[in-house]
């Protein structure tokens, strides 16, 4: 399979980045060191090339209806320039993808932009067009993934950096708001969103301005390695790993994102999720901290204190901020309270661990 490349792939390689396959894309995993990049984002700022994220534009008279019926959150609550986190579920309420949905400004051609995960853009474009046709809705669905780059500038210094780079102030953009802002003469969708738990912005850049805009930001370039450790410290889900429609099917309540489900709207999977909401779930997504030494990794068994397997680690790492081993995974609800003692089997050795609240970091970390 030929890997898709972000437009600045060669620029990143010249900066010394190493690369990894992710969702069918050849993406920078590390520029300097994961710890250095992680620390830069927590203390100052870092810039991520996240051009592997999909870009789907939806327009036309029935754009609202189409978005409402294919995502779990309530798009009618979004004013122009607003965004929210949402799930895309199937009839059974299983999460197919998680996404941020933006309602674009009134003077823009498209009404909505949403951002599927790497490698899901074609699948979601197909899903949207198939349902549009099935429901006979008047909407245009455009897969713009290859027309844009996406950069995330994250960290306490990010607002100043983005302000300095922008032709105009971005300080008055609130969390989960966005607007079009010029960078290096290019009109870029600029939203105060991100995936690290820090303040910051995501900037969607027309491909022909990719390098000019990247060069405006004088901060630590960061790869997918530190993006992963940063999001794990926050307890954020990673599509394909913490949930996967085929290999680890989960509904939003199990995954701890039931707050994105608005049962007073009509969407694919609503009835199944109403039932799950009423009956409760048998397993929950939790944080875990190892008490013993070791590093938890994806796929390791979680057991009770009698060594009965009760779940599996979906994500794990040594937290660069805490210098403690942390993990995410699903356990039965009767084992999900913070403080519950469990064990994680690390390369055949049973290690003591405790269920922990997420985010793992407190506000002053």
């Amino acid at each position: 399979m030929t890997l898709r490349k972000p437009p600045l792939r060669d620029v990143h390689a010249a900066e010394g980045a190493t690369f990894t396959e992710f969702g069918g894309w050849d993406m920078p995993v590390e520029f300097d060191s994961i710890k250095v990049e992680h620390r830069a984002v927590r203390d100052e700022a870092g810039i991520f090339d996240v051009s592997h994220m999909g870009q789907i534009e939806v327009s036309g008279p029935d754009a609202d209806a189409l978005m409402q019926k294919l995502t779990t959150n309530d798009v009618s609550e979004l004013g122009h320039g607003d965004s929210h986190y949402s799930m895309i579920t199937d009839e059974e309420g299983t999460i197919l993808d998680d996404t941020v949905v933006y309602r674009l400004p009134a003077d823009h051609d498209a009404e909505f932009l949403f951002v599927p995960n790497a490698g899901h853009d074609e699948q979601m474009h197909q899903r949207w067009t198939d349902h549009r046709d099935e429901w006979d809705l008047d909407a245009t669905v455009h897969n713009a993934t290859d027309e844009y780059c996406m950069y995330a500038i994250q960290g306490p210094d990010a607002p100043n950096l983005v302000n300095s780079a922008a032709e105009g102030s971005v300080s008055d953009i609130s969390k989960f708001e966005g607007r079009y802002v010029e960078f290096a003469g290019a009109d870029c969708w600029t939203a105060r969103t991100g995936y690290t738990g820090e303040d910051g912005f995501e900037v969607i850049v027309p491909t022909d301005s990719a390098e000019a805009v990247w060069d405006l930001f004088d901060c630590q370039p960061c790869g997918l390695g530190s993006r992963d450790t940063l999001r794990m410290e926050q307890g954020f889900l990673l599509s394909g790993q913490d949930f996967d429609a085929d290999e680890n099917p989960r509904n939003p309540y199990e995954a701890g994102v039931g707050w994105t489900v608005k049962l007073d709207t009509e969407f694919v999977g609503r009835d199944a999720l109403e039932q799950a909401s009423e009956e409760g779930v048998e397993e929950e997504f939790v944080g875990i901290k190892l008490v013993d030494r070791g590093v938890p990794r994806h796929g390791y068994d979680i057991t009770d204190t009698d060594d009965h397997v009760i779940g599996e680690v979906t994500s794990g790492t040594m937290s660069p901020t805490l210098s403690e081993p942390i993990a995410l995974g699903y356990v039965p609800t009767d084992s999900s309270d913070p403080g519950t003692v469990v064990r994680v089997v690390v390369r055949g050795q049973s290690k003591k661990a405790k269920i922990a609240s997420t985010p793992f970091l407190s506000d002053d970390q």
């Binding site: 995993v29 590390e30 060191s33 994961i34 710890k35 390695g225 450790t229 030494r293 070791g294 590093v295 990794r297 790492t317 040594m318 660069p320 081993p325 390369r347």
Partner: protein, 127 residues
């Protein structure tokens, strides 16, 4: 990028080094190996008194992104373990041929030292 490859060591193809010594020798991983692994966050080592056989696994080194088995370049008995790595695993990144050493062994009579790569041969492998 060029990596440090001291001439006073011998090397395994799997990137471990050993002091080219007569009776006791230190073992660690190479500069190239620590760079490939990235930030080392955990090292699991044998105990003093354990016997190691040349080519066998003797521990594990974990970075944020990968887990890697450690293979013993020589046969012998562990006489010392670098306890500093328990709290400062990053020493493997910072000083792989010095403070990042892992174990010291008393070499067996047939230690296998002669079967290892010379510094020149190892340089050729990682180029």
């Amino acid at each position: 990028m060029s990596f440090e490859v001291p001439d006073d060591r011998k090397y395994l193809e799997s990137h471990e080094w050993v002091d080219d010594a007569d009776d006791t020798a230190k073992i660690g991983i190479s500069d190239f190996a620590q760079d490939e692994l990235g930030d080392v966050v955990f090292v699991e080592l044998p105990s003093e008194g354990d016997d190691l056989a040349a080519g066998d696994e003797f521990g594990v080194v974990e970075s944020i992104k990968a887990v890697s088995d450690l293979y013993s370049p020589v046969s012998g008995t562990v006489t010392a373990v670098n306890d500093a790595l328990a709290d400062q695993p990053e020493l493997v990144n910072d000083d792989p041929f010095g403070e990042g050493w892992m174990v010291e062994v008393e070499l067996a009579e047939d230690s296998g030292m002669d079967d290892l790569l010379t510094a020149d041969e190892y340089r050729e492998q990682i180029e």
